[in-house]
């Protein structure tokens, strides 16, 4: 699964620390997500999408086979 968290965060001028606080995870988890090293649960993916002011999970996350 790939994502555009870093790009969207940059558009919103949001730091990794701020996003981590908003979704209730450690900053290291945001770093792992941005580097596509960690696939989040649906719950976390939804929280990230909401924090990045998007509506659908597909707006941020792209599923790949």
């Amino acid at each position: 699964m790939r994502n555009t968290i870093a790009q969207r965060r940059s558009e919103l001028s949001m730091t990794q620390e701020k996003l981590a606080d908003l979704v209730g995870v450690a900053r290291q988890t945001i770093i792992a997500l941005e580097q596509n090293k960690y696939n989040p649960s649906l719950l976390l993916a939804h929280a990230v999408v909401k924090a990045l002011q998007k509506k659908r999970i597909e707006d941020i996350f792209t599923f790949e086979d």
Partner: protein
């Protein structure tokens, strides 16, 4: 409770427990250690010293548990911790099983009539099996 879980981070590379990550955490450690050092140096043999040290240790043992339980972990950190703890358990089991086999073999070599292994080693393995089964039963019912 005295300590705040936010003052500490989970010990990942040097065993179990927690380590201070803020100055408040270091003050907390100093608050625990200082009275122990003072009392132990002023009257190391006294009865009241022993009573104080036991009560002090109990209070902070409860507080340590509170800190460990309250320490925030997100889903990725939980997965990492679960895998690390599982690997640690495998290492412990490997050593225990080796010890059990070694002690039993030594007993056989010495022509002992009764098993000569340490029963605590067997008890530790059985306790681990029970803990694993209980955890799986609980988790299967929960989700």
């Amino acid at each position: 409770m005295i300590g705040n879980p936010k003052w500490f981070s989970r010990r990942k590379y040097t065993g179990w427990g927690f380590t201070p990550k803020t100055w408040q955490g270091w003050v907390y450690i100093a608050v625990i250690m200082l009275p122990i050092a003072i009392v132990a140096s002023v009257n190391p043999e006294g009865t009241w010293t022993s009573v104080f040290l036991i009560i002090w240790a109990l209070v902070f043992a409860v507080d340590f548990i509170h800190i460990m339980v309250g320490m925030r972990k997100d889903e990725r950190e939980r997965i990492h911790e679960a895998i690390a703890e599982r690997n640690a358990l495998w290492a412990i089991l490997a050593v225990l099983i080796f010890a059990l086999a070694y002690q039993t073999a030594s007993g056989i070599a010495a022509h002992a009539l009764t098993p000569t292994f340490d029963p605590f080693i067997l008890a530790a393995i059985i306790a681990a099996v029970i803990a694993k089964a209980a955890t799986n039963i609980y988790l299967d019912r929960k989700n």
